[in-house]
Symmetry: none
Subunit: 142 residues, 2 copies
DNA sequence: GTGGTTCCCATTGACGCCCATGGTGGCCCA
DNA sequence: TGGGCCACCATGGGCGTCAATGGGAACCAC
């Protein structure tokens, strides 16, 4: 399958590394992604990651808006000023930096959540809670 | 027959596997489904499964919304982050993961219930109860 | 040098793939 | 119509492979 799906929780080791689930690595490998682009999610306390092509998509979206609008400015600030590049080691692990920890509250375990064209890093409890809340709201609607 | 009908209860083995009823496997084979998309039902304590085309249907629902809205994000969190791909082994069995157990309460036996374009995994007693209740309500209406 | 990384290698536990067995129902034939 | 044979399905278990994790050692930057 060609998109990021499902979720998995992995442990951070003594050096601050965590394995990206093989399922996600397989998706990355399929599109020959070497370097990951990471940014802070606009809605949730999670850090998102994907190949560099999403950066271009964001830029197009910003370009389509009024360049002086508060929205476009905020988005550009997050995308350009707040994004970082990361790469995985030979075993498919990434280093959990303070950039990630501070924004997500992650300490010793990471929940990876697929989001279709990208995936996210969550503090496990926060993910659980947000997901169950989303389900509850959804049930209320239908 | 080209849809999932009726129900059957099978036992989970020591390795946590359970046979998908051959009736259901036949339906999957007919539409050449190799990989199953599984999600937590929005109403019942059951896990639903179907071919990937269901996922695409969900994604179209998300795609019709503003991609930055909280609504679209929450839906994606459920559909992508809460969904799982599963595949059957050579004998047509699937692994009953914690993803399934936690949500359904399944321990050692699984009731498979056909739902037309998909089928569901239930804890046997929960299925019995839900079905008899549905029958009762139905009778009360007519 | 010293701290923080990156590159490699080791371990182990889970999972996928394969073959075996038994039970049941259907079908054929007498 | 009854008995027996056969095929298929549910189930059990062995074993190899791979992913997740842990840790040593080289390497770089300050």
């Amino acid at each position: 399958m060609n998109r990021f799906l499902s979720n998995a929780t992995n442990r951070i080791d003594a050096k601050g590394r965590v394995s990206v689930p093989s399922m996600f690595r397989a998706v990355l490998a399929r599109s020959a992604v070497e370097e990951l682009y990471a940014w802070q999610d606009f809605v949730f306390p999670a850090v998102s990651m994907a190949g560099p092509e999403v950066l271009e998509r964001f830029e197009r979206m910003i370009g389509s808006q009024d360049p002086f609008s508060a929205e476009a400015n905020k988005m550009s600030l997050l995308i350009h000023g707040g994004g970082v590049f990361m790469k995985l080691d030979g075993e498919g692990r990434l280093l959990v930096t303070d950039f990630i920890r501070d924004f997500t509250g992650i300490t010793d375990r990471v929940t990876f959540a697929g989001r279709g064209d990208h995936f996210q890093l969550w503090e496990p409890a926060a993910f659980e809670e947000m997901q169950s809340r989303a389900r509850k709201e959804r049930t209320a609607i239908s």
